[in-house]
């Protein structure tokens, strides 16, 4: 039904464009004054007036159809059946009715349920048809209204421009609103978690054992939600990754921009950027199957014990993954320093090295810092490599050769498998997610500030 409606609306938009275009040509041919806008703009104007209101109507309708029908459904149930049910039981009843309505009948449903399912289907059909008729009517009204306004003096060109800028604003709002939605859901679930576990315990506790008995008599630990070891593990791995990625990426960028011949550069730069295109899961098994055993063997040969899932293996491989981020952004930053800066420095008798360290790198610093901080927030948020190569047990250690766990690994293990959404174990994932979000947000804000500060000083 909906797909037919959208098809019809698209056809109407096309028709609107064609009609507007033709009408404008006809008006232009008979009018004494020159047309203000080209016929194409009139066509776009009609198309916009057909498409935008009808699509907005469809979106709003779809948003409200479900809740309205549910509300009608509850109202229509016999009083004696509904009274005394709490919210959970009522939800259960409604979803039973819906699944019967969809044709998935298990067991022997009540006559009341069968009847309600029937009603539910009927109402939905009515709603769908009402939407169809209404949307097409709105579209046709749009054609009629827009057609009427076409005249030699009508400024369709400016109006279309206005509509386009409105559309662009709407698109950017969608991204922002989605972010707000994510934050709101994180906050909501985190607040539920902090009802059960205090903020102080979560942020300062040194013990992380999220296993909680789900069933009676299950043997697990009692559950402890001190997230310090998890944060420490995240920072340790991210730090190792940055220590690997920053110098390598930066030196590679300096070499490529200042020393390499253009031929070499044109081969090496794309090759380096291929690194960014490798799926992280591939890095993950590279870490766990190749790097970790190698590190372990080296450790054994030198006589010390290294865990098979050490922080070092995960961090080092993550660092390799981040090299292209840093090198590519630093490369752009260094290359965009004007040639006149290089000339000025060389003309004063500076060597290449002096020019790079004293003029190019300081000038390019905002861009380089941007790249480094972007890489850092990727390192903190990276999941797949650490899930495969780092540990799950949260131990508070700064020894890179021991297993540690990270925030992302914990979120993943907490949310997969048997989950119950009012259990602190599950809710803990949202609190961790919130902290992760806030810390990358802070990193990004710092990055922006640094960039702005140097901009002010240097330009």
């Amino acid at each position: 039904m909906l797909s037919y409606l959208i098809l019809v609306l698209l056809l109407l938009i096309l028709a609107g464009f064609a009609l507007g275009h033709r009408k404008a040509l006809a008006v232009g041919a008979t009018s004494d004054v020159r047309m203000h806008s080209l016929a194409g703009y009139h066509g776009w104007y009609v198309a916009a007036l057909v498409g935008i209101p009808s699509f907005v109507l469809v979106l709003l309708w779809l948003l409200f159809q479900g809740p309205v029908v549910d509300w009608l459904l509850i109202g229509s149930l016999p009083k004696e059946g509904v009274d005394g049910l709490d919210k959970g039981q009522l939800d259960l009843l409604i979803s039973q009715i819906k699944s019967v309505a969809a044709g998935n009948i298990f067991g022997d449903p009540d006559a009341v349920v069968l009847e309600a399912a029937d009603r539910y289907n009927r109402w939905n059909t009515i709603a769908d048809w009402a939407l169809f008729v209404l949307a097409v009517a709105v579209a046709l009204a749009g054609i009629a209204l827009a057609q009427q306004r076409i005249s030699a003096r009508f400024r369709a060109r400016n109006t279309v421009e206005l509509v386009m800028s409105g559309l662009m604003i709407a698109c950017s709002l969608i991204a922002i609103l989605t972010t707000f939605g994510i934050v709101a859901s994180l906050l909501y679930e985190s607040l539920r978690f902090f009802d059960k576990v205090s903020v102080a315990e979560f942020l300062t506790g040194l013990n992380w054992e999220p296993q909680i008995p789900i069933r009676e008599g299950q043997v697990t630990a009692g559950g402890a939600f001190g997230a310090i070891p998890v944060f420490a593990g995240t920072l340790l791995i991210a730090l190792i990754a940055m220590v690997v990625a920053t110098p390598i990426g930066l030196f590679a960028a300096v070499y490529l921009t200042e020393y390499a011949s253009s031929k070499f550069r044109s081969v090496i730069k794309p090759l380096l950027e291929i690194l960014a295109g490798i799926p992280t899961v591939v890095y993950g098994f590279f870490a766990v199957l190749t790097v970790a055993p190698a590190i372990r063997n080296i450790g054994q040969a030198m006589g010390f014990e290294i865990a098979p899932n050490s922080a070092f293996a995960a961090g080092a491989v993550m660092g390799i993954m981040l090299i292209p981020f840093i090198s590519s952004l630093s490369d752009d930053a260094i290359a965009s320093v004007p040639q006149s800066m290089r000339d000025g420095s060389y003309a004063l008798g500076a060597t290449k090295g002096e020019t790079i360290t004293k003029v190019l790198l300081p000038s390019a610093l905002p861009g380089i810092m941007g790249g480094v901080l972007l890489a850092a927030s990727r390192a903190i948020g990276e999941t797949m490599i650490v899930v495969m190569a780092a540990g799950i047990i949260a131990s508070l250690t700064f020894n890179p050769f021991e297993p540690v766990t990270t925030v992302t690994v914990q979120i993943m293990t907490l949310l997969t498998g048997d989950t119950e959404f009012d259990n602190p174990k599950t809710l803990a994932a949202f609190a961790l997610g919130l902290v992760l979000f806030l810390s990358t947000l802070v990193l990004n804000i710092i990055a922006l500030r640094i960039v702005q500060k140097y901009r002010e000083q240097y330009e």
Binding site: S340, D343, G344, Y346, T351, Y458
Partner: protein, 276 residues
């Protein structure tokens, strides 16, 4: 010795410098059969040009005639351009600049350069000037460095304008001040020869007048080679003028002669504004 060199020798005497040096070795730069190629394209053809010390030599000519290219040969800035090849002999102070034993970094310390567009580094005024002395190790202490910075600003006539904001960014100055900052930066490494590649083309007339005044002042102690598109500027600031056309040095002589009595028809056409 022609009139012009007599004139500047006399000027030397007035300024109290050692005149005998100038008389003995009046040419700071000598070039013989200098040709420059960009890839396969030849930009300069067998240039023979001698440049006197403690005077201003102007290089004029239409765009693309090779005057900037010649200028950039003198401190080997053409090295930084890929595919650029220089042949022939250029001697600064009697020393061949293409001598493999010669350190190009040291050469550029002796031959300063000022560019068409002011290009201060994105650093403070102080740091801009301190840059050269630092990398060449000219200052033994912090106070030495401060002294060099202050005296360079003084010589560039910029000190009174910026002395309160010497630690503020050089890029915050006006265009004319930026250009004088670049001249101060070049002076700070104590060069003997200063190359100026259209130093006033991005400046307004008032800033231009200040830079020209400065050039006039600087010629007492330095050898200056200036590329310019403004014939009036060449006439105002230079003692000798060389006219380039299509990669060839057409004519060279005292500025007064070139502008009043050119021997070549092309020179005459150019300075009377018939082309270029």
């Amino acid at each position: 010795m022609n009139d012009q060199s007599k004139a500047f020798t006399m000027e030397m005497d007035k300024s109290g410098s050692v005149a005998s040096d100038t008389v003995m070795n009046p040419h700071k730069v000598t070039s013989r059969k200098v040709s420059v190629f960009y890839g396969l394209k030849q930009a300069l053809f067998d240039i023979d040009l001698d440049i006197p010390d403690r005077a201003v030599m102007a290089l004029i000519g239409p765009s693309g005639c090779g005057k900037s290219t010649f200028l950039r040969c003198l401190n080997r800035m053409n090295d930084t351009i890929p595919d650029c090849r220089v042949t022939g002999e250029i001697k600064v102070d009697g020393r061949d600049v293409h001598d493999p034993d010669l350190d190009v970094v040291e050469l550029r310390g002796r031959v300063g350069m000022v560019f068409q567009k002011p290009n201060p580094f994105p650093k403070s005024i102080f740091e801009n000037i301190a840059y050269g002395p630092r990398i060449h190790g000219l200052a033994r202490s912090k106070s030495d460095l401060e002294e060099i910075v202050i005296s360079s600003l003084e010589k560039a006539g910029l000190l009174s304008e910026v002395k309160d904001r010497i630690h503020e960014p050089g890029t915050g100055l006006s265009g004319g001040q930026q250009q004088r900052l670049c001249i101060a930066r070049a002076i700070a490494v104590n060069p003997e020869l200063i190359l100026m590649d259209e130093p006033c083309s991005a400046l307004d007339p008032i800033a231009t007048a200040k830079v020209e005044e400065l050039i006039d002042e600087l010629k007492k102690n330095y050898c200056i080679v200036i590329v310019t598109h403004s014939m009036q500027q060449a006439a105002r600031v230079s003692q000798r003028t060389a006219f380039f056309h299509l990669g060839i040095l057409v004519e060279e002589g005292s500025t007064a002669d070139i502008f009043t009595n050119p021997t070549d028809k092309r020179t005459q056409d150019y300075i009377t504004g018939r082309f270029g």
